[in-house]
C-alpha cells in the first residue's frame, strides 16, 4: 500500500526543519500540489495545524482500511463464488463428458457382441451417453474462453464427436447386413475414441480441475493487505489517543474511541470471516473435492475395465501385449480392476459419514462379485465355450455386465453425495464472506467520521 508522499512526510519533518526546506517543486510545476505542500508546512508549525494533519492521516487510514478490505474480500468472495458456481461444476461436467464418451464406446461394443439385432438397452444407453456428452460440451463451451486449453480441447471434442458417431452408424449398418466390415468400422471407432476423444476429454478435465484449484487457492489466500492496513490504522488510533492523554490528561475522546471501535470490529470481522471461509473451503476441498476426484477415477477405471472385458471377447483373446506373452485386453482389464480397487479403498477412507460410506461399500461388494464372475467367464472361454462365456459377460442374468452396472450405479450415488457435501461446504465458505465488504466500507466511513469529530473536538479548544 502506498500513500501520497505528502501525507506521510509532512507531520514528521515539520517540527524540525520545515521552514528551512526549500520549495520542492520548480516554478513550472507550481500548482495545486505545491500550494498544498506550502500550506501543510505552515500548518505543521502550530498545534491546531498538526492536529488537522493527524486527523487527516487517521481518517485516510481508516477509510483505506475499509476500502482495501472491501476490495480484497470482494475479490476472495468472487473467487469463492467461482468455485461454487463455475469451476467446480465445470470440472464435474468434464468428468461426466469423459465418462459418457467411454460409456458410449462400451455400449457400442456390447451391442456388437450381442449380434446383428443390437439389444434395445445397449442402443438407448449409447444414445443417452452421446446426448449427454454433446449437451455438456455446449455448456462447457459457453463458460470457456476459446483460446484457453479448455477451449481447444472442447473444439477438438466437438470436431471429433460427429465423426465418431458417423463411424458407429456405418458399423451398425454393415452389421445388420451380416458383413464383417461392421466389426472393422467398430474397431476404427474404438481407435478414434481411445486415440483422440478420450485424451482430449482427459485434458479438458485436467484443465478444468486446475482452474478449480486456482480459484480455490485464490479464495483461501489471506487478505494480507487488509490486515496490514487494519493493524496500522488501529495502531495510529491508539497512538493518537495516548498522545491526547499525555497532553491533556483526558482519558477518553468519544470520536476517537468510536473510530477505534469501528476499526476493531472490521478487523475482527475480517479475521473471523475469512478464517471461517477458509475452514469451509478447506473442508470442501478435503472431503468433497478429494472424494469426487477419487470416485471419478474409480468410475473411469471401472469403465475401462468393462470396455477391456468386452474387447477380450470381441478380439477373441488373441491380441497380445507388446511382449507377446499375454492377452492385451485381459491384462488391461486386470490393471483396470486393480486401479478400481485401489481407488475404492481410498474412497472408503475418505468417506466421512454413513451416507457417503454406504454406496462405496456397495461398489466394493459389486467389484468382488464382478471379479468372481469374470474369472468364471474367463474359464468358460478358455475351455472353448465362447457362447457360454459371452452369456456370462453380456447376458441378462448373473453376468459381469450386471456387476458393472451395480458398481456404476453405486459410484454414481456416492458421487452425487460427495457433490452435495462439496457444494454445501463451499457455499458456507462463500457465505462467511457475505456482507463483509459492505460492512467494512460502512464501518470505515463511520470510523473515519468518528476520528474527524474526535480531532475537531480537540481543535475547537484552540478557538
Amino acid at each position: 500500500m502506498t500513500y501520497p508522499p505528502t501525507v506521510r512526510t509532512a507531520p514528521q519533518s515539520a517540527p524540525t526543519h520545515a521552514p528551512a526546506q526549500p520549495p520542492a517543486a520548480p516554478p513550472a510545476h507550481r500548482g495545486v500540489w505545491a500550494v498544498g505542500k506550502e500550506r501543510l508546512r505552515t500548518a505543521a508549525t502550530t498545534e491546531p495545524g498538526r492536529l488537522q494533519i493527524i486527523g487527516a492521516v487517521l481518517a485516510v487510514l481508516v477509510v483505506a482500511f475499509g476500502a482495501v478490505t472491501a476490495f480484497e474480500i470482494s475479490d476472495r468472495a468472487s473467487a469463492a463464488d467461482d468455485v461454487v458456481s463455475r469451476s467446480q461444476p465445470l470440472s464435474a461436467d468434464a468428468a461426466s463428458i469423459y465418462r459418457s464418451l467411454a460409456d458410449a464406446d462400451t455400449a457400442a461394443s456390447s451391442g456388437f457382441l450381442a449380434g446383428a439385432e443390437e439389444p434395445r438397452a445397449a442402443r438407448e444407453r449409447y444414445q443417452k451417453d452421446i446426448a449427454l456428452a454433446s449437451r455438456l460440451l455446449v455448456k462447457a463451451a459457453a463458460n470457456t474462453d476459446g483460446s484457453s486449453e479448455s477451449g481447444r480441447q472442447i473444439a477438438a471434442l466437438n470436431e471429433q464427436l460427429p465423426r465418431y458417431t458417423g463411424v458407429i452408424e456405418t458399423a451398425r449398418a454393415y452389421n445388420r447386413q451380416g458383413l464383417p466390415l461392421g466389426g472393422a468400422y467398430l474397431r476404427f471407432a474404438n481407435g478414434q475414441m481411445t486415440r483422440d476423444l478420450l485424451p482430449a476429454a482427459q485434458k479438458l478435465y485436467d484443465a478444468e480441475t486446475a482452474r478449480l484449484e486456482r480459484d480455490d487457492d485464490h479464495a483461501r489466500f489471506w487478505p494480507v493487505s487488509s490486515l496490514a492496513v487494519g493493524v496500522a490504522a488501529l495502531a495510529a488510533l491508539v497512538w493518537m489517543q495516548r498522545r491526547n492523554y499525555l497532553r491533556t490528561n483526558r482519558v477518553f475522546n468519544h470520536g476517537l474511541l468510536a473510530a477505534t471501535a469501528a476499526a476493531t470490529v472490521v478487523l475482527l470481522w475480517l479475521a473471523v470471516g475469512h478464517t471461517v471461509a477458509r475452514a469451509e473451503l478447506n473442508a470442501a476441498e478435503a472431503h468433497g473435492q478429494k472424494s469426487l476426484k477419487v470416485l471419478n477415477d474409480a468410475r473411469i477405471s471401472s469403465l475401462k475395465a468393462r470396455a477391456n472385458e468386452n474387447l477380450t471377447l470381441v478380439a477373441r483373446g488373441a491380441v497380445l501385449t507388446d511382449d507377446g506373452k499375454s492377452d492385451k485386453y485381459e491384462t488391461d482389464y486386470t490393471s483396470g480392476m486393480k486401479k478400481l480397487g485401489d481407488r475404492l479403498s481410498e474412497a472408503r477412507s475418505l468417506a466421512d459419514d454413513k451416507e457417503g460410506l454406504g454406496p462405496v461399500e456397495s461398489a466394493v461388494k459389486g467389484v468382488s462379485e464382478w471379479k468372481v464372475r469374470h474369472a468364471s467367464a474367463s474359464t468358460t472361454d478358455k475351455a472353448g465355450d465362447y457362447e457360454g462365456a459371452l452369456a456370462k459377460v453380456i447376458g441378462p442374468k448373473a453376468s459381469t455386465g450386471q456387476s458393472f452396472d451395480q458398481v456404476d450405479d453405486a459410484l454414481a450415488t456416492a458421487l452425487a453425495h460427495e457433490q452435495r457435501e462439496f457444494t454445501h461446504a463451499a457455499e458456507d465458505g462463500r457465505g462467511a464472506l457475505t456482507g463483509l465488504p459492505v460492512g467494512a466500507a460502512l464501518l470505515a466511513v463511520l470510523g473515519a467520521a468518528g476520528a474527524v469529530l474526535g480531532i475537531n473536538r480537540r481543535l475547537s479548544e484552540y478557538r
Binding site: P4, A56, D75, G115, P180, L181, R211, R316, A318
Partner: protein
C-alpha cells in the same frame, strides 16, 4: 468562516487522498484475476519405422514343399488329445474365409471349415475347437509362444516364413492384387500407384511386395511399430484397409486376391485392378517349427480334404467372388 472553509477544503483533500488510496489499492490488487492457460504439448518422438527384412533367395525355391502325410500320433498330437480341444488361430474379418457372422455371432468361412475338419480328424469332433482371432502380424508370435496350436488364416507360405514356422502343404493358390474404387485412376500394380496412398496389413506379404517395389506410392505410417502408430496405411487386418478406403484416407489396397474378392463382395463400389494377380502364393496351415507330427497329420487331413470336401467348401464360400477355380493345388512333398 475562512477557517472553516480552509478546514473544509482540507477534508476535501482527505477524501481525495482516500480515493487515491482506494485507487492504488484497486490497481495493485487488480492483476489477481484468472488467466494463464497451461499448454499440454504432446510429444511423440519421431523415429523412423523399422523396416521388415525382405525374403532372400538362399536356395529356397519351393517353400510350399512340406513333410509327407502321416496319421501317427506324436507328442504334440498327444498334448492336443489330452486337452480335448484344438486351439486354432483364425481371422474374424476375412469375408468368406474366416469371419464373424454378425447375425449369429459365430465364426464362419473356408478356413473355419478346414480347421473343423482337422479337429474332426484329431479329436473326432468338429466342434472341439477353440478359435482365437489373430491380427495378421501376430500369426507367427502366437504360434511360437504357444497361444495357438495351428494357424488357419489365409497364411501365405514363403521363404522368409518357413524359417520361423512350419507349414502344411498348400491348400489354396492366391496372388497379390490391387483393389481400388471403380472410378480410380489406378490401373493395377504399376506406375499408376505413384504418389498414391496404399494400405496393407502389418506383417502381410502385400507389405513385403510394396517394400520391394512401391512404384512411388506411400505405404508406411510415420510411427509404424511405435506407441504413436497412426494405423492409417498399415493396419492390423486387411479389412481395416477397406474402412480407410471408404473414408477416403487411402487410395488403394494391396492384398491377396482371395481376400480382396471378399472386400469387393462387401462394397460393390470397389474392384480388383489389373486383371490378374501380380504374384503367385500358396496358403498353408502353419504350426510352430519342429512340430513334425502335427504337420504330417494336417497334411494327411488335407490329402483327404482335397478329394471332395475342398470343392464343397469352395462352392459354399468362394465361388461367388472367386469363380473359375477348378480345384485345389496339388500337394508337393519334400524328400524328408
Amino acid at each position: 468562516m475562512t477557517d472553516l472553509k480552509a478546514r473544509f477544503r482540507g477534508w476535501g483533500g482527505v477524501a481525495g487522498m482516500a480515493a487515491a488510496c482506494a485507487l492504488t489499492a484497486a490497481v495493485t490488487l487488480l492483476p489477481l484475476s484468472h488467466g494463464g492457460a497451461d499448454d499440454l504439448g504432446s510429444g511423440a518422438d519421431g523415429r523412423s519405422a523399422a523396416s521388415a527384412t525382405p525374403a532372400k533367395d538362399d536356395g529356397c525355391t519351393e517353400p510350399e514343399r512340406s513333410l509327407s502325410p502321416s496319421a501317427a500320433n506324436g507328442p504334440n498330437i498327444d498334448a492336443i488329445v489330452a486337452r480335448g480341444k484344438l486351439i486354432v488361430g483364425v481371422d474374424q474379418n476375412s469375408y468368406r474365409w474366416g469371419y464373424r457372422n454378425p447375425a449369429t455371432g459365430g465364426l464362419e468361412g473356408f478356413d473355419i471349415d478346414l480347421a473343423r475338419a482337422i479337429a474332426q480328424d484329431i479329436l473326432g469332433e468338429p466342434d472341439a475347437v477353440i478359435f482365437r482371432a489373430i491380427p495378421t502380424n501376430q500369426r507367427i508370435p502366437a504360434l511360437n509362444n504357444g497361444t495357438v496350436d495351428i494357424v488357419v488364416r489365409t497364411m501365405t507360405i514363403n521363404c522368409a516364413r518357413i524359417k520361423q514356422v512350419a507349414f502344411s502343404t498348400a491348400y489354396f493358390q492366391a496372388g497379390q492384387q490391387v483393389l481400388a474404387s471403380e472410378g480410380s485412376s489406378i490401373t493395377g500394380y504399376d506406375k499408376s500407384l505413384a504418389g498414391k496412398k496404399v494400405c496393407t496389413a502389418e506383417g502381410s506379404t502385400a507389405y513385403d511386395a510394396l517394400e520391394k517395389n512401391s512404384f512411388g506410392a506411400t505405404f508406411k505410417d510415420k510411427h509404424d511399430g511405435q506407441p504413436g502408430d497412426e494405423d492409417v496405411l498399415t493396419v492390423s487386418n486387411q479389412l481395416d484397409c477397406l474402412v480407410r478406403l471408404q473414408l477416403g484416407l487411402v487410395d488403394a489396397i494391396v492384398t491377396d486376391n482371395a481376400l480382396a474378392a471378399g472386400q469387393a463382395a462387401q462394397d460393390p463400389a470397389v474392384e480388383l485392378k489389373g486383371g490378374k494377380p501380380f504374384t503367385t502364393e500358396y496358403y498353408g496351415v502353419a504350426t510352430k517349427l519342429g512340430k513334425t507330427d502335427l504337420v504330417r497329420r494336417v497334411n494327411k487331413v488335407l490329402d483327404e480334404y482335397r478329394k471332395g470336401a475342398w470343392t464343397k467348401a469352395y462352392n459354399k464360400w468362394l465361388v461367388a467372388d472367386l469363380p473359375g477355380i477348378t480345384g485345389p493345388p496339388a500337394p508337393k512333398y519334400s524328400a524328408g
